[in-house]
Amino acid sequence: MNPSDSPVLVLGARSDIAREITKILAGRGHPVMLAARNAENLSADVSDIAVRHGVAVTGHEFDVLDIGSHARFLEDLPSSPAIIVCAIGLLGDQEADAGDATATRRIVDTNYLAPCLFLEIAAARMSLTGTKASIVAISSVAGDRGRAKNYVYGSAKAGFTAYLSGLRQKYAASQLHIMTVKPGFVRTSMTEGMDLPGPLTCDADVFAAKVVKAMDRGSLVYCDLRWRVVMGIITHLPEKIFMRLKF
């Protein structure tokens, strides 16, 4: 487990999953830095966590797509993060986006390119401190196999998952722990209005508790057991059969 005074940086702090993870970590006493776009309306989240948990909380403007600002952003933080939670993601609209270069690029950049570049810088710094540090990065089971329903997003997440795996290997000998999180379905603003299968769907708070537990254990890839079974089957289906499935 990370010492409870180690600072946490949350990227995409407004994400429902991120909020729940933040609650748990702040409850343990970690100071928290919340980063998101339009940071001015993060003030409610800042006060909420500060009052509930009595920890230091700050809000920071951060657009992951502004790649040039990454290094500066890290330098300007009030303290260097020992835990980074990255919950940034963009699902997009498959039907409208496929074939549209600008839209596709935006999804690829948001889910893959930009977070990878950011974590590359952050990992290098965190590994240098020589103390225990963690990166918890949220990818998706959608990256395990491309589906007609969301392959723009899915392929970007596939890239992200692969990148994290490489990064983990690179820092295997250091004190930096990198965990890839692969959610299945979680009830959040991203999935609002979708018809999700009950037994395979969980609430953000329940999911967050599992993620933090996995982080404490030092898991390298966290995916819920049921989803491991489902994806185990899906990824092993022969392409000939898979292409005919409608889901």
Binding site: A44, D45, S47, D48, V51, R52, S189, E192
Partner: protein, 426 residues
Amino acid sequence: MTLRDMDDPAVPSRDGMIARGLGRSYGDVSMNPSLTLVGTGRNRILSFDEKTGQLTAQGGLSMAEILEVFVPRGWFPPVTPGTKFVTLAGLVAVDAHGKNHHIHGSFGDCVSWFDLQCADHVVRRCSRTENTSLFNATLGGCGLTGNILTVSLALLAVPSAFIVQRTLPAPDLDAAIEIFETHQQATYSVAWIDCLATGAARGRSLVLLGEHAGAADLSGTNAGNPFYFQKRKAKRMPFDAPSWALNRYTIRAFNHLYYRAGSTGPEQRIVDYDTYFYPLDAIHDWNRLYGRQGFAQYQCAFPLAASRDGLIALLDEISAAGLGSFLAVLKRFGPGAHERPLSFPIEGYTLALDFALSPGALTLMTALDEIVCRYGGRLYLAKDSRMTQATFEAGYPDGLATFRALRDTSGAAGTFQSLMSKRLSL
């Protein structure tokens, strides 16, 4: 039913929209099939002053969260209903009352101000000095004046998480009233009443008085750690009880045993706040006790002078029908807030009942309505789903015109509508 998050910009249709909190109102107050705005995602705490206990939070913050965060620091909600799964905005919208109404008044009395998003999209700060008529109309206004975004209230400093509870048996209604009247100084008071007892035992009750326990009242580990107690895991009611399980005989037997246990047990006990204030929250889905048909709540209030006669007439009607209620609750209200047009409490007595739904229960409730009107009483909007417009208008004669006029002039009438507002032409 179309549900939307309250933060989503919503354009209501001709049928308007209504806000909803945790849906603990029993009837149709927080429902609009064409657009219902769910406010529970807005649950951030915006500020808290450790010295004065002033809490400012978004309207979707629940009582359960307030208790969890602030009781360990020595603060308690000044007014709380019988369930903690309610939101601040929901409590404002029904101007809820607690077991201390005779001393502290209703929820509105501990609210310093709230921000209300009106029909013209403007957010207005409402308090006793700013936008006063909106402030008053919104307290008890059932979401029909606008969306409550932020609420600021002062919490109460308490010495522990425990309550010293005294149980005083009252062999009949007069004795129960007598106990309430002589214990006006008690911080909390409420009675469980046996609606099926007849003859000399008519209206027999167990009056429960409560005070916040001080360090001196606590013993053992609690004395050293006055804000901590082992939270119980809520039990579930795993199935719908069969419809024959609750009938006049089983309820009568239960009531008899309950009364005997209460009148022969120890007079004074120390209980944690969950046990004292939220007994029903300990069983999730407790409503399934009433079987698949569900149940209806019925809560009325009588003016003080007419209370005794009104209550006797109600009890006679109920026991004659043989449709008892497990959870009948009697309480003495203090002075009501006349400046709030739809706020329910008026000085006198209130009786809350629930009936397993059946055609017989509906007929009985219509008969009860007549009695309530005859004795100048009124029904609680938060618990109603069936009264007629005439019953409603008879119960709220003074405030209604003011409320309707405010809705018309502010444009709220066309924007904020619920199944209830349509049923009662609010």
